[in-house]
């Protein structure tokens, strides 16, 4: 008999202790605030701010300019963008020589050293966000791979304000996560950090030292 069969057999032989299924949806429904967008934005901003992330308000037309200003102020020289994205193209169309754009257009194995050593920053799109905990939701894919939000020391995230959910549970229900997930899903709440040395908080442990959220408002949104 294999280890699998032996383990399962022992577990099946144990006494059965029936437990009613947990009512997770009920718990979250009872606590839901049914917030207006402005309140969700405010809570997200508070959360992200408390984790040391920067949040900048911007618009569909204005964000590339804003990103370049911030990049210039932080003296960033290279910025990693996805291989084939609308926002990547929008940035390329308006980017000046001061910021060199690098496309993530080949498998990591062929340029790992360069990614780890020679890229100052990256830009990815957030799929949505969670107001309650101040978290960004990313679904990395072939165009915007997983390491983009991890390896470069500065991570810009473009987030559409309208996509902000109230809480984690409503996000996964509204987006039907239970039907199946992609290779990787991430919740990101601030820059990488550690308190492993004498409980002293330090940022940029292994991932980005800075997380910069470009909060893109549609016409008529309140900031």
């Amino acid at each position: 008999m294999s280890a699998r069969e032996r383990i399962l057999e022992r577990l099946r032989a144990a006494p059965s202790l029936p437990v009613a299924a947990p009512d997770v949806a009920g718990w979250f429904a009872a606590r839901r605030r049914h917030e207006e967008l402005a309140q969700r934005i405010a809570r997200l901003r508070n959360g992200l701010g408390s984790y040391h992330a920067e949040v900048h308000d911007t618009t569909e037309a204005g964000w590339p300019e804003l990103l370049m200003q911030i990049a210039a102020a932080k003296q960033l020289r290279t910025l990693l963008i996805g291989s084939d994205t609308r926002h990547g193209a929008a940035l390329e169309a308006r980017c000046s020589d001061a910021l060199q754009l690098v496309r993530y257009d080949r498998a990591i194995e062929s340029w790992r050293e360069q990614m780890f050593d020679a890229v100052d920053a990256s830009l990815t799109l957030a799929r949505s966000a969670i107001a309650e905990t101040g978290s960004l939701i990313l679904w990395p894919d072939a165009d915007e791979p997983r390491l983009m939000s991890l390896v470069p020391p500065v991570h810009f995230v473009l987030l559409d304000a309208a996509t902000i959910h109230e809480d984690f549970h409503s996000a996964m229900v509204a987006e039907k996560w239970g039907a199946g997930l992609p290779t990787n899903v991430l919740l990101i709440s601030g820059p990488s950090k550690t308190a492993d040395i004498q409980q002293t908080l330090a940022y940029g442990a292994h991932g980005p030292r800075e997380l910069i959220v470009l909060l893109r408002h549609a016409q008529g949104d309140t900031a």
């Binding site: 280890a3 699998r4 032996r6 383990i7 022992r10 577990l11 099946r12 032989a13 144990a14 006494p15 202790l17 029936p18 437990v19 009512d23 997770v24 949806a25 718990w27 979250f28 959360g47 291989s83 993530y104 080949r106 990591i108 194995e109 790992r112 780890f116 905990t133 101040g134 072939a142 791979p145 997983r146 991890l150 549970h169 996964m172 996560w177 239970g178 199946g180 997930l181 290779t183 990787n184 991430l186 919740l187 990101i188 709440s189 601030g190 990488s192 950090k193 550690t194 308190a195 492993d196 040395i197 004498q198 409980q199 002293t200 330090a202 940029g204 442990a205 292994h206 991932g207 980005p208």
Partner: protein
């Protein structure tokens, strides 16, 4: 049950505890760390009602998952396999390491980089790999420091909690070429970051633990702040996850309440920096991520706890460490004194199933039963009830239990058995009881002055000059 010959575990534990409490600097470290973690946790739960409700929900999710454990493990295996993740089962540490080693040999791995995983500590993964000539490097900052120092973690969430920044600064100077002494924490973290970035890029395999495994979607959930877990699960071409069989939940929607309870209870964070959900290896067209993902499901004594209706609650644990953060014993003796991978109250109740009660029974007695751990446990494990049960099992007469625990009865001694046998005799016979109590009160002057540990800081116990029944009789007259 055959008794393996062990060095007296009670004595060994006493000696380790003694040397721990004699180390004033370390006690100060633990005290301040525990105060910090308690304060942070408290701040995360301002609404007592919400906390109670959420703990109820967390407990039901965990108990429900355990009630359906065999079915959920099969569902998890089926969905992970369909997603392209390879599932392996291991009865014990040796089997788990052998599985990992077989993978490592097949892909000709020389370097493994590790995210934080207590299960990997439990199975002695690093040693097993070292014996096979494979480097297994810890990449969580705390674990990295502990490994550099040749030590083991003293806390399940904050592994280097016992070390001062001065000690870490000296350690870095000694062990990392070209490093200058600095007590600046930012600078120390930058040094660790630089060293480990090279290691991530060069590793053949990334090893991680699992916080929750979701059966319905075939998803591994990893909770962390540093990003090293993401590095380990994304950069190397092979990812191996190790986990206990109890970590499975049925539905994805069971994750948000447990995730919230975990981060708030563990470090007093509303949320950690990263929640990393992994459901597939690298897909065609994707440019990073491991080409192979493996999950090793490990029993290692868990099914023994599962077989017992009461002890099954041990497996509800989500490894937040709140019980140790609030334990007056842990705060004084620290994590290493326990001598087990998992210290503190959770260590005392889970270790007997992994290592045998004969090797671990003193831990069940290393508690004041003050209930602090029970009050903070996010999934409502009745820890003190389980400690008392294990104390009883440690004293159990051989052959009296239907499903004996490995090593039960190990704490039994002829002297203690005789004393309690006499006690039971006296208390179950009225005439004998009256006679004995009469002699006790008359002979109270003969009470020994030295009553062992009791009299080290207290006055000796002596029987009352008059028995209760005598006093009552006086009152009635």
């Amino acid at each position: 049950m055959s008794q393996t010959v062990l060095p007296d575990p009670a004595n060994a534990f006493r000696q380790r505890s003694r040397s721990a409490v004699d180390d004033a600097a370390q006690r100060q470290n633990f005290r301040s760390a525990m105060d910090y973690l308690q304060t942070k946790r408290r701040a995360q739960f301002p609404d007592a009602q919400e906390l109670d409700g959420l703990r109820d929900l967390g407990a039901v999710i965990r108990r429900y998952s355990l009630a359906h454990l065999p079915r959920l493990l099969e569902q998890l295996e089926k969905n992970l396999t369909a997603n392209g993740i390879q599932v392996h089962w291991a009865e014990n540490a040796a089997e788990a390491n052998a599985i990992a080693l077989a993978i490592a040999r097949r892909v000709e791995a020389r370097r493994i980089v590790k995210g934080k995983s207590m299960v990997s500590e439990e199975i002695g993964f690093n040693h097993a790999m070292a014996d096979a000539g494979i480097e297994a490097l810890e990449s969580d900052m705390g674990e990295y420091i502990v490994q550099l120092a040749g030590e083991t973690p003293s806390h399940i969430i904050m592994p280097a909690i016992h070390k001062t920044k001065q000690a870490i600064a000296s350690l870095f100077v000694e062990k990392i070429p070209g490093v200058e002494y600095t007590e600046d924490v930012d600078a120390l973290i930058r040094i660790g970051r630089q060293v480990l970035r090279r290691k991530f890029a060069a590793a053949d395999i990334g090893l991680s633990g699992v916080n929750f495994a979701v059966a319905e979607t075939g998803t591994l959930c990893l909770v962390e702040n540093e990003g090293n877990g993401r590095m380990c699960t994304t950069v190397p071409r092979v990812h191996i996850a190790v986990t206990g069989i109890e970590k499975v939940v049925e539905k994805l929607e069971h994750v948000p309440p447990l995730f919230s309870l975990l981060t708030r209870s563990a470090t007093g964070q509303a949320v950690t920096t990263y929640l990393n959900l992994i459901s597939h290896p690298r897909q065609p067209g994707e440019k990073d991520g491991p080409e192979e993902v493996h999950l090793i499901l490990i029993d290692n004594g868990r099914s023994q706890a599962y077989a017992d209706e009461q002890l099954r609650a041990t497996l509800q644990c989500i490894r937040c460490g709140a019980c140790m953060n609030h334990c007056p014993v842990y705060a004084r003796i620290g994590g290493h004194a326990y001598g087990t991978t998992y210290p503190g109250p959770i260590g005392a109740i889970v270790s007997p199933h992994m290592l045998g009660l004969d090797a671990t029974y003193p831990l069940a007695f290393a508690s004041t039963l003050c209930h602090a751990c029970v009050e903070v446990c996010p999934v409502r494990i009745p820890i003190t009830d389980l400690l008392i049960r294990l104390r009883n099992e440690a004293q159990a007469r051989p052959g009296t239990s239907a499903a004996p625990l490995r090593g039960s009865g190990a704490a039994r001694t002829a002297l203690v058995s005789a004393i309690w046998g006499a006690w039971a005799l006296v208390y179950s016979r009225l005439g004998l009881y009256r006679l004995t109590s009469w002699f006790m009160s008359r002979g109270r002057a003969l009470s020994p002055i030295d009553q062992g540990a009791w009299t080290r800081s207290r006055t000796p116990l002596t029987p009352a000059p008059r028995r209760l029944r005598d006093l009552l009789k006086d009152g009635q007259e």
